[in-house]
């Protein structure tokens, strides 16, 4: 479900997300969207923050108050930190600042629509022959211990939590480093290439792929 008052953005989102394989229902009006939510269930909601007559935060609070736990990504034109905090406190699962690349939204939608909110973290993550022991902070591939730095471990951990979906550079910066700005340098690429040198290079199959213009994806071989 997409709730966005601006017609151009709404069409762009509906088309783009449709092409990315989502079934999209778009609403211009938060009230109509709320009514529809009572009848249908959705995998995820893209909610604009600033809409005439109603603040996206209030819409979200109403939803959460009505026990609608569908994952929500908030869109906003403003990057002020208190805005983001307010959004996350109201129950948004993610927050995206306009302008953004469609691939960014697609990647984020896939990760939040995939797992139910508040999922219990598992102790072990496995994908193909990669095995990640989160308690011991150890990763192995095909039984071989991988010599990862703590950052590389976190990077791999995040990738393994979202197998098969594209994770973008910005997502990695936010979730792995906790950085909310866009470094000019190839911070993510550097660490990713080091991780790939350790995880993929010595082995027969490459599991981490670069998706040009979007980000990275990890897949079982």
């Amino acid at each position: 479900m997409v709730v966005e008052d601006d017609a151009e953005t709404r069409d762009y989102l509906a088309r783009g997300l449709g092409e990315a394989g989502f079934a999209v229902t778009a609403f211009a009006e938060p009230r109509a969207a709320m009514l529809d939510l009572a009848a249908h269930s959705y995998d995820a909601i893209v909610l604009d923050r600033m809409m005439p007559g109603m603040d996206g935060i209030d819409v979200l609070k109403l939803m959460r108050g009505a026990q609608i736990t569908t994952p929500v990504i908030m869109l906003t034109a403003r990057s002020a930190i208190d805005d983001r905090v307010a959004g996350l406190e109201a129950g948004a699962d993610d927050y995206l600042v306009k302008p953004f690349a469609l691939s960014e939204l697609v990647a984020r939608l896939k990760t939040i629509a995939r797992r139910p909110a508040m999922a219990e973290p598992e102790a072990d993550l496995t994908l193909g022959d990669i095995r990640l022991d989160r308690l011991k902070r150890e990763a192995t591939r095909a039984g071989e211990l991988l010599d990862l730095s703590p950052l590389e471990f976190k990077l791999l951990e995040f990738m393994l939590q979202n197998p098969g979906t594209v994770v973008t550079k910005t997502m990695l910066l936010e979730k792995v480093w906790g950085y909310r700005f866009d470094p000019k340098t190839s911070l993510v690429q550097t660490h990713m290439s080091r991780l790939r040198a350790k995880v993929d290079k010595p082995f027969e199959h490459e599991m981490i792929r670069t998706v040009r213009g979007s980000g990275y994806v990890i897949d079982a071989p």
Binding site: S79, I81, S149, F181, D182, K184, G213
Partner: protein, 454 residues
């Protein structure tokens, strides 16, 4: 000018002060007068009572006839002219009467009815009030009185004159002083008003004159001039920024335009189209990055984010940042040496501090020589980041924190020229002082941490 003087605050205040002064003076004057008069009156009564007391005692002992024989002599009845003597000498006047109101001795026109306050004798020439008492004796009654002494009326006259003089002399004096005082004050204010009016009309170079007396007007003029200087500086800054923005936005926009043209030309060649689209997207990203940096700068400089300050472990932030960037430096064939003193805490905005560090590190990465060694050091009092290269030429020292300023004037290096400006405004927001260490060999930025709170 005259009208504005009369309507000025100073004038009104001088008059008000004068009014208060007059009221107080009058109050004091009349209070003293009344006190003095009351004091005199009580002395008078005592004299009268003493006189009456001995007369009564004598009459009781010897009888009225013997008393009068002894003291009144032959001329018992006083003529009008007799009164001048007691009037001058302050002695007593009497009227002794028998039970039939027949005058036995003394002054015939002195009656008990005259004894109310301020009464005068029925006398053609003497109009001085008297004070007296009536007392009875066996076979009649008597009245003993005395003229009010001159002093009493003198005091009253003085008080009345004082009141009159206060108004007659004081009021013109107040108007006079008020006028000239106001005129002087107004003259100096008008000069400052004229300056601000001229500036409002666009003469930005005007400044309020200062007399050098260092009085309140000089301080006002100085304050205004200081403010104007700061505004002019700000204005110049905004102008520079506008030019910078225009220049920096023009290039990517022109490039996008160029790519659009190429797309039109290569419409039939999908591979070439793809290339143009990607290039155009890169230019757009560059534009957005500049806007983002500008918005950030605006947000930081507005000071709004100060509300979200929280206690932070700066050591941890710096160490993490160093860890994140070390491989990036390695890939560029440079090295990053990080040394962090543990437990350095401060109140701040984590996101902004991370951005500041990142900008500094990226600045070092871009501008250091090949194979440079960059050092990131956090001590309890300062954060320094520097390289071992040739340093920044002195010509650029004073300007490197300005927006859109680039030491590399060819503008060939990537970067918006906003990175260090943002670093400086973030440092300012956190009450840190950032300096370029000119004594050091390489380019060394030193950020003095604020003295720890509490």
């Amino acid at each position: 000018m005259r009208r504005s003087v009369v309507r000025s605050t100073t004038f009104a205040r001088v008059l008000r002060a004068f009014g208060i002064f007059v009221l107080i003076a009058l109050g004091v004057l009349w209070a003293l007068t009344l006190l003095w008069r009351a004091n005199l009156a009580s002395t008078e009564w005592q004299l009268l009572e003493a006189e009456v007391a001995w007369i009564e005692a004598d009459i009781t002992e010897n009888g009225i006839e013997d008393f009068l024989d002894a003291y009144a002599g032959d001329e018992r009845i006083w003529e009008d002219d007799f009164l001048y003597e007691p009037l001058e000498e302050g002695s007593f006047i009497y009227a002794f009467r028998d039970e039939e109101d027949e005058l036995l001795a003394g002054y015939g026109d002195l009656y008990p009815t005259d004894l109310k306050a301020g009464a005068e004798l029925f006398h053609p020439e003497i109009d001085v009030p008297i004070r007296g008492v009536k007392f009875g004796y066996d076979g009649g009654y008597a009245v003993t009185a005395r003229f009010e002494p001159d002093e009493r009326s003198d005091i009253l006259a003085f008080a009345q004159f004082g009141t009159f003089a206060l108004f007659l002399i004081g009021l013109p004096l107040a108007l006079f002083v008020g006028y000239f005082l106001s005129r002087d004050v107004l003259r100096r204010i008008e000069v400052i008003s004229a300056t601000t009016a001229a500036i409002a009309e666009g003469d930005m170079a005007r400044r309020a004159p200062e007399t050098g007396q260092n009085d309140e007007f000089d301080r006002l003029a100085g304050g205004i001039n200081h403010m104007l200087g700061a505004l002019a500086q700000l204005n110049a800054n905004i102008e520079a920024v506008s030019v910078g923005v225009a220049h920096d936005l023009k290039t990517p926009l022109a490039n996008i335009g160029g790519r659009l043209e190429l797309m039109e030309r290569d419409a039939g060649d999908p591979a070439a189209l793809q290339g143009h689209i990607e290039a155009a997207q890169d230019y757009l990203d560059e534009l957005l990055r500049i806007f983002e940096a500008l918005l950030r700068l605006g947000e930081v400089e507005s000071g709004r984010r100060k509300a979200a300050f929280a206690p932070l472990d700066l050591s941890e932030i710096v160490a993490n940042m160093g860890e994140a960037y070390a491989p990036v430096f390695e890939d560029a064939q440079k090295s990053l040496e990080v040394s962090v003193a543990p437990g350095v805490a401060l109140d701040g905005d984590r996101e902004l501090l991370e951005q500041m560090l990142s900008n500094l590190l990226e600045n070092a990465l871009e501008h250091s020589r090949d194979a440079a060694q960059v050092q990131l050091t956090l001590s309890a009092s300062a954060l320094t980041i520097g390289d071992d290269g040739p340093g920044i030429p002195p010509a650029h020292h004073s300007r490197i924190f300005e927006r859109f300023y680039r030491a590399d004037s060819s503008r060939t290096n990537p970067g918006s020229g906003l990175g260090l400006a943002l670093v400086k405004s973030i440092a300012d927001l956190h009450a840190m002082t950032i300096t370029l260490d000119t004594r050091a060999k390489g380019a060394v930025f030193s950020i003095a941490l604020p003295p720890s709170q509490g």
